[in-house]
């Protein structure tokens, strides 16, 4: 299956060149909503975080959340954008039951942040993604359509609306069209979203949880014949809610469009929806019959005019951004570009760096985060950074393993126990008796018992078949519930059997 897709994809690129663009919506992590004082906390009972303003009650008026403006300026500055000295909100008018006012307060021709760019790296190659604009708007409520086959509004028996999300500040980051990335287009798109996510996290403006919808992508894709200077008709794919999906959605959309073009057809400019299960896109509403949004400046809000001194203050207070941090870490920790890239791909750069800062050797820290911890994260389908263990705890485990207090196997058990219990490393070791048994007399007794229980194996070892000692080691380890250091056990066994380790 995979190889078929790969082959189809490679085939597409022999005839077509892709141009893509991304619109990314990010829910800001402000304490209160964009235009009222309601909480933005996720997961509350439906319609409990609401007030006359975010319910669009008659007479209610919006007031701009200053923190949201500051967060957006931070994003703009991190993306090398110009910051408007004066701009307005605008009303985007359309009827939909999740929109309390039946217009969304957004920005139209006067975004808060203008042109900028973001450099991303794929396979050692740097691509510059142009930023068109960054603007601020309010999120809508959330509909649940009950009954009916599709889960969509048409055919549903009834619909439920939760306005807790209505009015949460939403930043839209729009790229310029990105051309010239060839076969790497889907990977560049993914790398852009990953880099953007890391920047947003570093800036502290959003928790960027894609699975909770706090970061959502629309992917615009078009194809044109290789060598053509004119771009093809684009489609917009919505519902792309993970990094992997960004790449998959664009890839499958390129293959779909190529098939139509190959057959002499025309691409319809439309909105499509990405299906996680199939990896395909499905036609949504047609852009050609799209609503006329009748934008006009929001008369309920005075213009936003960020003071130049304030913008300078925000700029001065920006944290070290991921790219700068990565190049610093590389030189400070002596990582190769590939080593660093693997940490970036795993989303483990911060965890790694903090583990090193907590005293762990870089090589060990990297092994744990990319090895056992990455496995655990994979099994749980979460980001490695979302595991309920701190870099300091990981550093402690590394330290104890190095000191011989824990074996590697025990270290893993300690990590499992920390994740499971939420208590600290020392506590877990004490509670579960997980420390290495270093009492030689106890180990000697266990070794003798193992020899006595396996006379045949003991004879083989005595007869020079050294590898057979593994069976005895296993037996001792079992008897000590894994709490012994395997190397020590081996030494003791050989000693009790009167066999010496061959030199070299």
């Amino acid at each position: 299956m995979t190889t078929t897709i790969e082959a189809a994809y490679d085939d597409v690129l022999t005839r077509y060149q892709p141009v893509f663009g991304l619109e990314t919506h990010v829910e800001l992590g402000t304490a209160s909503k964009m235009f009222c004082g309601c909480s933005t906390e996720f997961g509350a009972d439906p319609n409990t975080h609401t007030c006359p303003v975010c319910l669009g009650m008659p007479g209610a008026l919006p007031v701009v959340n200053a923190a949201a403006i500051e967060y957006t300026i931070r994003i703009g500055l991190a993306l090398n954008c110009s910051i408007a000295s004066w701009c307005r909100f605008a009303r985007k008018n359309y009827f939909y039951p999740d929109m309390p006012k039946n217009y969304q307060i957004s920005q139209y021709d006067e975004p808060l942040c203008g042109e900028g760019y973001l450099d991303v790296e794929v396979h050692g190659q740097t691509f510059r993604v142009g930023i068109e604009r960054v603007h601020l708007e309010e999120d809508t409520g959330k509909n649940t359509h009950v009954g009916g086959a599709t889960g969509r509004i048409h055919g549903a028996d009834y619909s439920l609306v939760d306005f807790n999300r209505a009015g949460i500040p939403l930043v839209e980051i729009v790229t310029k069209p990105v051309a010239g990335t060839g076969a790497l287009a889907p990977e560049v798109a993914r790398a852009y979203v990953a880099e953007l996510r890391d920047i947003l996290r570093t800036l502290g403006v959003s928790d960027v949880k894609m699975e909770q919808g706090s970061l959502r992508c629309d992917v615009n894709t078009s194809l044109s014949p290789v060598g053509s200077s004119q771009w093809g008709t684009r489609t917009e794919t919505k519902n792309v809610n993970s990094l992997r999906s960004v790449e998959r959605a664009m890839r499958s959309e390129m293959i779909r469009q190529a098939a139509i073009l190959d057959a002499g057809g025309r691409i319809k400019q439309e909105t499509r929806h990405f299906q996680e299960t199939t990896g395909q896109t499905r036609s949504g509403r047609s852009k050609e019959e799209a609503t006329d949004y009748r934008y006009f400046p929001e008369p309920d809000l005075v213009p936003v005019a960020p003071d130049a001194d304030w913008v300078a203050e925000i700029r001065a207070a920006l944290p070290e951004l991921p790219a700068a941090r990565r190049s610093r870490l590389r030189s400070e920790l002596g990582l190769s570009a590939d080593e660093l890239q693997s940490l970036v791909n795993a989303g483990a750069v911060d965890a790694f760096a903090e583990t090193v800062a907590a005293g762990a050797p870089a090589a060990e820290a990297r092994n744990w985060w990319l090895g056992y911890l990455a496995q655990l994260a994979n099994a749980r389908e979460v980001e490695v950074s979302a595991l309920a263990i701190t870099p300091a705890q990981v550093a402690k485990v590394i330290e104890l393993v190095a000191a011989g207090t824990l074996s590697t196997a025990l270290g893993r058990q300690v990590i499992d126990a920390v994740l499971e219990s939420g208590t600290d490393v020392e506590q877990v070791i004490a509670d579960r008796g997980l420390a290495v048994v270093s009492d030689t007399s106890a180990l000697t007794q266990a070794a003798d018992a193992a020899i006595a229980a396996n006379p045949d194996v003991a004879d083989k070892v005595r007869g020079g078949k050294l590898p057979a000692v593994g069976v005895l080691v296993g037996s001792v380890m079992k008897a000590t519930r894994g709490q012994a250091d395997a190397a020590t056990v081996r030494t003791i066994l050989l000693e009790r059997l009167g066999v010496s380790e061959p030199a070299g």
């Binding site: 009650m57 008659p58 007479g59 007031v63 008018n93 009827f95 009748r294 006009f296 008369p299």
Partner: protein, 515 residues
């Protein structure tokens, strides 16, 4: 005992403060008056007897406890049904909000309550404040107390009629293109549209956000100023609310009452003097007399020209409908108000559509359609964009004119109160009522209407209003000049409301208020 409904607001407050009458007695007297005459006037959509008496009792308790009372504590007031009142029905004159009980108070409502003002009830209005006669109300037609066959102006016609009919000494209106000033003029009372942003719009159900402004009605300029002082002030819940304190309008009104206007330059706006026809002669005659009175008080009269005022009507009827088309989109049957067709056989879109079709009246629909068209892609620049430019030019005209004069004057409306039904079939005939009031609305500048005479041109003696316009945040000038004129008028003619015919079974031969 004095008829408590004949006192003006300042006198009422003094009567309560001195203990001559309790706030409950004052409130009861007005509730009785409403009971006696509202079946003829139809000013109120909802009378909140219980809430009013409770508020009055609270004032009496406060007084009994020796607490200091505000300058209008215990004074009854009629509130336009466009402001949200927690627990009290609010309809904005529309069927679409029939039965809606707001869960929150407008900032203006809160300020009234905090001042100890007793809200008697909610007054009738043109649906969503769209109209100049209150005939566009979905509920009832309010009558002008001067002649029950005529309109009380609009859109705040319930409030103006209530004050003229002595149902309340004070009332609140909103003015988008003249909806305080024109009803004040045609009912013989005082009405002021403050500087845009002086009074919070939070809880004022929006018609046109960039034009809507709440303001006071009273029977005297001083009463109106006292109420203005209660309403005005910064509100963090309204982004367009002016953060700096406004002028002291009460002091200005009291200074003005000395009737000395020496050193004050008053500009007659050439474009608002009916040179091109269309103004009633009786209105123009009263206006000319008013100019002579002002001059006799020592004012210097100059003529100014504001050429772009001629485009005010056209600009207004693009901007206001555009904003209303968006503001009224929220009335969709999903969260509150009317819901039509939710019987399982209609889709959500159909329910929305049926509800709006049945819930909105003809004028509201007309304006939603005009506004929707004007904002459409491809037409925006030609309509909404151009209208905003005209607005800038009109503001520029004001700035230039205020270089030559301290205040500008004009008739408030080209017409006196017209017959019910006379203009309903012709929107343009209705729209021209606001010819003189639209420029200040578009510029966001303050303007007051004070009674300046009676015209018998249309038959019975009907009041004419004088409009006094001032620069942004100089509302005090409106009150000062208005009070000076009022003092001179009173000295020469006595209280104008004495001319209101008898409405109820009690009272003198004429039923109007005396001071």
């Amino acid at each position: 005992m004095t008829d408590l409904t004949r006192l003006n607001a300042a006198e009422t407050a003094a009567t309560i403060a001195s203990g001559e009458a309790s706030a409950v007695e004052v409130t009861q007297a007005h509730l009785d008056r409403i009971g006696a005459v509202d079946e003829k006037v139809h000013a109120f959509l909802h009378v909140d007897t219980e809430g009013a008496l409770k508020a009055a009792k609270a004032v009496d308790d406060k007084r009994a406890a020796g607490e200091k009372l505000g300058p209008l504590a215990g004074v009854p007031l009629a509130l336009k049904d466009i402001f949200t009142t927690k627990g009290v029905p609010t309809t904005v004159g529309s069927k679409i909000l029939d039965g809606w009980i707001p869960p929150y108070d407008a900032t203006l409502t809160t300020r009234l309550r905090n001042a100890g003002i007793v809200i008697l009830g909610k007054t009738n209005m043109d649906e969503f404040a769209m109209g100049s006669s209150t005939e566009n109300s979905a509920y009832q037609v309010t009558r002008n107390p001067w002649d029950l066959t005529r309109v009380p102006g609009g859109s705040s016609g319930g409030s103006s009629a209530a004050v003229a009919a002595r149902q309340a000494p004070l009332a609140i209106g909103t003015d988008t293109g003249g909806s305080i000033r024109q009803p004040a003029a045609v009912t013989g009372i005082v009405g002021h549209k403050p500087t845009y942003g002086a009074v919070s719009r939070y809880g004022l159900i929006a018609f046109s956000s960039s034009l809507d402004q709440a303001g006071p009605f009273g029977r005297t300029v001083e009463d109106t100023a006292l109420l203005h002082q209660v309403l005005a002030g910064h509100d963090p819940l309204d982004s367009t609310s002016i953060p700096t304190p406004g002028p002291d309008v009460v002091t200005a009104a009291r200074e003005g009452a000395r009737a000395d206007l020496s050193g004050v330059r008053i500009g007659i706006v050439r474009e608002l003097t009916g040179a091109g026809g269309g103004y009633q002669e009786g209105v123009l005659a009263s206006f000319r007399q008013a100019v002579a009175v002002l001059e006799s008080l020592g004012a210097e009269i100059v003529e100014v020209s504001c050429p772009h005022f001629d485009y005010a009507l056209a600009a207004y009827y693009l901007i206001a409908p555009s904003e209303c088309s968006s503001n009224l989109a929220r009335f969709d049957a999903v969260r509150y108000g009317l819901r039509v067709g939710d019987d399982g056989s209609h889709s959500l879109e159909e329910v929305m559509s049926l509800t709006r079709e049945q819930g909105f009246g003809a004028e509201v629909k007309r304006r939603i359609m005009i506004g929707t068209y004007a904002l459409s892609s491809g037409y925006y620049d030609a309509y909404y964009g151009q209208a905003q430019k005209v607005r800038t030019l009109i503001a520029g005209d004001f700035t230039a004119a205020f270089g030559q004069a301290d205040v500008l004057i004009s008739p408030t409306s080209p017409f006196v109160a017209f017959e019910i039904g006379e203009r309903v079939a012709d929107p343009m005939a209705m729209y021209v009522n606001d010819l003189c009031t639209l420029p200040a609305s578009l510029a966001g500048t303050p303007a007051i209407s004070v009674p300046c005479g009676l015209s018998t041109e249309a038959g019975p003696a009907l009041p004419v209003g004088l409009q006094i316009m001032a620069p942004t945040m100089a509302d005090d000038r409106c009150y000062r000049v208005g009070a000076a004129f009022e003092a001179a008028y009173l000295a020469a003619n006595g209280p104008i409301l004495a001319g209101v015919p008898r409405l109820g079974s009690v009272g003198a031969a004429t039923d109007g208020a005396t001071r």
